[in-house]
Amino acid sequence: MKLNQVKYNDVTVVTIKGDVLDASVVGDFKNEMTPILKSEYHVVFDMSNVEFVDSSGVGAILSCLRTLNAEGGDLKICSLTKPVLALFELVRMHKIFDIFENKDLAVGSFS
């Protein structure tokens, strides 16, 4: 699990570089997210590389949202691949998250 971070003004876009976010990597993901969640308020997850997410991956992303929300921040998601979007819809997470087609729309939504 390697996360890529780019800042656009006060919005941090985190790109998940691996193509999988399942129970085998979710621990790493959470560890790598911890400092980011501590320092940032406006975060976008760019998930364009991620072809596979399982329930633990959904749970981890949800956990990020909750952490940010608790501090007055927010998390937006963008560029979901087809199978990942299907999973989000299955577990009704499209109603919990703001999901955007691409990074620009997600970043722009903060302003």
Binding site: S55, S63, R66, K82, P83, K95
Partner: protein
């Protein structure tokens, strides 16, 4: 366990999995790093029949169900303990794929598991719901030798 199974498990990483007609087997360790091999196994089982036109979407759904089932076996049935075995047997049909996951850990009675909470307040509890909704049949059983089976069926045609 017999050694043949272990042998298959070792070889599947490099060559196409051992094929017994339309049946395939793999032996996994109770280690989450095995999830990727579980998914690769599903992909191979989906490709085993020339006329098995399982849609990519259906293959993904079956991979998701298998991932959730293996994770549950490792984390719940085996309590996260390494060194335990999961035997996965796939039977491919033109009409679909049957995957049996065998383990020797704690059995679950799925009727006692509450449905998930969808309001964002809970980060877990989605696994069994995802399994049920990603395949056409899921069954949990335990035999007299305490071998548990999670059986998944995915139709080729949706």
């Amino acid at each position: 366990f017999n050694d043949d199974l272990t042998c298959v498990a070792v070889r599947i990483g490099k060559t196409p999995a051992e094929k017994q007609g339309t049946e395939m087997r793999i032996l996994l360790n109770s280690d989450l790093r095995e999830l990727e091999r579980g998914r690769r196994f599903v992909r191979e089982a989906a490709g085993i029949l020339p006329n098995n036109r399982m849609a990519a979407e259906s293959v993904s759904q079956l991979q998701l169900a298998v991932t959730e089932a293996i994770t549950n076996i490792i984390e719940h049935a085996y309590g996260g303990e390494g060194g335990n075995k999961i035997e996965v047997v796939a039977e491919s049909y033109a009409e679909g794929i049957q995957i049996a996951l065998h383990h020797w850990g704690v059995a679950v009675d799925p009727s006692t598991v509450p449905p998930p909470v969808f309001d964002g307040s809970s980060e877990g509890g989605f696994g069994m719901f995802i399994i049920s909704n990603s395949v056409d049949f899921v069954g949990y059983s335990t035999d007299e030798q305490k071998r548990n089976t999670i059986l998944l069926i995915k139709n080729s045609k949706k």
